[in-house]
């Protein structure tokens, strides 16, 4: 569902994403891992159409982002990092607005709102203004709006940010439920999230994709006896360092 081919993104002289290629298929949860500033958010911003790649191609479904960005946005549910939302809006109005932007009308809006309120557990804050919600609830509202149009592709940037441990567990369960017929790509630097829910991991550092595969396969390749993402990440980064020396 997501096809990224040789994508590079620069900000002036800074290369934020450097010749990255990968794909994410239906029924797949892929964890996008890397330290702060590695290029995860920039990659997700490009997939969401917020940023254009400097070079390379991105396709979502059969649609090239350069050809019809609006059609791509229809297929994507996107939760940006830091969950920017209109603080002065009431939660239900915000959800209805996003549903309207996705061409839902009348009863379909009501049904979609009911569904995401139930799925994401935002019932307790549905009549509150967004600025009155706690960080965890803001995150859930952001997730609810990303899911309102039942998108086949879900892009989540640091989705568990602000969650307490119980909410993190609930979120992991939710991702498993959402996986059906859907491609999910989420970025995080919380290793436990990736290990718990990902079918596959993409490891990125300094804009370059260091690894793409299942955790066990990548650990086998690296010769690590203990399949731990932390060890794998340290191993890959040290390899890069050695190569530079």
């Amino acid at each position: 569902m997501i096809h990224v081919e040789h994508v590079t993104r620069t900000y002036g002289r800074l290369v934020a994403v450097d010749d990255v290629s990968f794909s994410v298929g239906a029924n797949e949860i892929v964890g996008f891992v890397g330290p702060n500033g590695a290029g995860k958010s920039t990659m997700l911003k490009m997939l969401s159409t917020y940023l254009e790649p400097t070079s390379g191609t991105i396709r979502v479904g059969d649609t090239d982002i350069d050809v019809d960005a609006v059609a791509v946005r229809q297929q994507i549910g996107y939760l940006p990092g830091d969950t920017p939302l209109y603080g002065d809006m009431v939660v239900i109005d915000w959800l209805r607005f996003v549903a309207g932007a996705h061409s839902l009308t009348g009863g379909a809006i009501d049904a979609a709102v009911t569904r995401v309120v139930d799925t994401c557990g935002v019932g307790p804050v549905i009549d509150k203004r967004i600025h009155q919600c706690s960080t965890g609830f803001r995150q859930r509202v952001g997730l609810a709006s990303a899911l309102i149009h039942d998108p086949p592709v879900l892009l989540l940037d640091e989705p568990t940010h602000g969650f307490d441990p119980l909410q993190v567990m609930a979120f992991r369960d939710l991702l498993h439920q959402l996986k059906q017929d859907r491609a999910i790509l989420f970025s995080t630097h919380i290793i436990a999230d990736v290990e718990a829910v990902s079918d596959r991991v993409l490891i990125i550092d300094h804009g370059r994709l260091l690894a793409d595969g299942t955790l066990s396969h990548l650990c086998d390749e690296a010769g690590l006896a203990d399949p731990s993402l932390e060890r794998l990440f340290a191993h890959l980064v040290s390899e890069i360092g050695d190569a530079h020396v």
Binding site: K45, A71, D88, G100, A101, S145, H149
Partner: protein, 255 residues
Amino acid sequence: MSSDRHRPQLSWIDAIHLVTKRELRAYFDSPIAYIYAAVFLALSSSAFMNAFFLEAIVDMSSWFERLPYLLIVFAPAMTMRSWAEEHAQGTIEILLTLPLRSGQIVVGKYLAALAFYAMVIAGSLPIVVMLVRLGPADIGTILAGYLGALWLGAFFLAFGQFVSSLTHNQIVAFVLAALLASLFTFSGHPQVVEIIDGLAPEWQLGSWLAMSVSVLPQYETFVRGIVGLGALVYFTSMINLFLWLTQIGLGRIRR
């Protein structure tokens, strides 16, 4: 999971309506909007009241004549948060990743500001009622004046939104838009024209600025009761130019 994932894209009218409705609601959700409307009406009406009671002038010319100078402050106050707040709070990322075209968002936001402005100036209608009751009022001139007031506000809001789209800081957006509004207004003020013309009489720069840049000569045709084609072309061209520039500016965010 819904089987109906392939929905048609929103039409331009539906998309603009959606954005306008959200923005307009945001205006009225803020108490500042009501304070803004009250102060604007008090200041604009005071010009009429002075002329009416002290100089016995029974028309709305004084109200309309003061309007451009009030809008130097009030139009930027309306538009400063329009895009600058989206940038500052990061909501622009959500907005630009909804399946809407940037042109639809620009026009939707603009129409919301224009609708709010129209509602505020509609608050002066009791003056019209009073004039009609007091005697034979020149309704044609009053209507032309209101039409001019709408075009004038539409123009100020268009460049105010453009300036707001350039910055993350609302104060910067306000100051820059107010400076631009001052340029468009004072460049047509007779005393300013005279001073600039006096600096280099052979160039007649002041007169040139007044005729080519200033909004006053265009607006004043409406105040005199004339709906001139030249003024309509001036306003529509300038509004379209600034809306287009705003859209271009949004495109640059992606690059």
